[in-house]
Symmetry: C2
Subunit: 267 residues, 2 copies
Amino acid sequence: MERPIGVIDSGVGGLTVLHELKRQLPKEKFIYLGDTLRCPYGSKQEEEVIQYTWEMVTHLMTFDIKMLVIACNTATALVLEQLKEHLPIPVVGVIEPGARAAIKQTQTNHVGIIGTENTIRSQAYELALKRIKPNLTTTGVACPKFVPLIESGKFIESDAIKVVEESLEFINEHPDLDTLILGCTHYPIIQSLIEKVVGNNVTVLSSAVETGFEVSTLLTFYNMYNSQDMVHSEPVILTTGSLNVFQHLKEEIFQLKSASLKQITLT
Amino acid sequence: MERPIGVIDSGVGGLTVLHELKRQLPKEKFIYLGDTLRCPYGSKQEEEVIQYTWEMVTHLMTFDIKMLVIACNTATALVLEQLKEHLPIPVVGVIEPGARAAIKQTQTNHVGIIGTENTIRSQAYELALKRIKPNLTTTGVACPKFVPLIESGKFIESDAIKVVEESLEFINEHPDLDTLILGCTHYPIIQSLIEKVVGNNVTVLSSAVETGFEVSTLLTFYNMYNSQDMVHSEPVILTTGSLNVFQHLKEEIFQLKSASLKQITLT
């Protein structure tokens, strides 16, 4: 089935998910829409997030997508169930794959979650984890400095490690915590820094990576694989905001040099 | 949905899958059937494997199972598609989850597979891997000494490491191979030995672990979770053969002390 898979995010963070989807499913076509103009969703009212998400989805549905990936934690927490109920295609969020991977990974049954303040406050990961495995211990901590650090591009400088160390100090208080979920699609961009700080005893899991795995599973079960035996062209990337940040990130961070980039308006 | 999940295998190897399912999905009920009397399937005619598998499935369907897991590589390779087509419930095999996990893991795009002679000869993993990601390099090697080593219980003795070292010598010839799939459900029992031999540069993936992840994903997408908020009783284990091996393995290896064990006859 040659129809594309749609990927939506409030901005650029979801590019980590797109990158993983492309890596794990090279035969598939992808179309990405980042609502950078109205980003971040984390501080918006619930009704606004629902409305904006539906506007993105409605736009992508015109491209005849066969599956929708919500590469945004806030939108997943608020709109996933509604979208699953109303869309005629399978819908995948980023929270459940991360939670499932943590359950698979942890041997001590103590899982940490880091994310934006809104995601941590929503306890979406805790709920997803405990719905499957009630006897887990979870520790969720907001890292509000990470997204600005990543968006500013300063994460390659030497003092970035200090920001990460300070934000992750809580890990030392939980010696039995053996698994840490990156509960924000921006964070995989600084995963190696985070891994350096938490050390070898804690496995760091990227929701982006695990979402790729889940989409792959569902393509099989819904018989939706692209059966053509060729590696596909680069994804189409749409944004409601400035092209500059996307241009930089897609080339420097994600090696998506030939991805086509286009500004659109949602109404 | 409180109905049990059925797990079938030609013998005891599938207990590694059952163990992972139980660990990753503690709220679910499981019923396992091992056809130990006619094990191993690997050396049987194709028609026999198909017939025996259907007999197991027919027996488990009387327990009103909500999902079927084929915890046997031979039966997955030969009967999965047929079962998916004809059964009114979702069916999961062990090959695709292992293949998907390897695609997720590998950075060098060179994946190794070890399994029984039949599994390696069938190239089932290679086909599953390349169907998703055509540009992978794969190296499949049979390790015929592993199953007898495991079934004899001698894998805890000091010369077991020699058997594993000899069988895995091929790894040294492929310095870019960074991911190794255990393509036999027995092998996770000696996973720590295998990891010791292949070293830190090769990630060892158990199909058993990944199958647990995939079943968890599908339970969500088919809305089949057991929503009761309690951890469930031990699984029911049925076998067509001697109870002795099961008795030993379930207690010593899998800590399933209170699992009920019963001999049955398939016709």
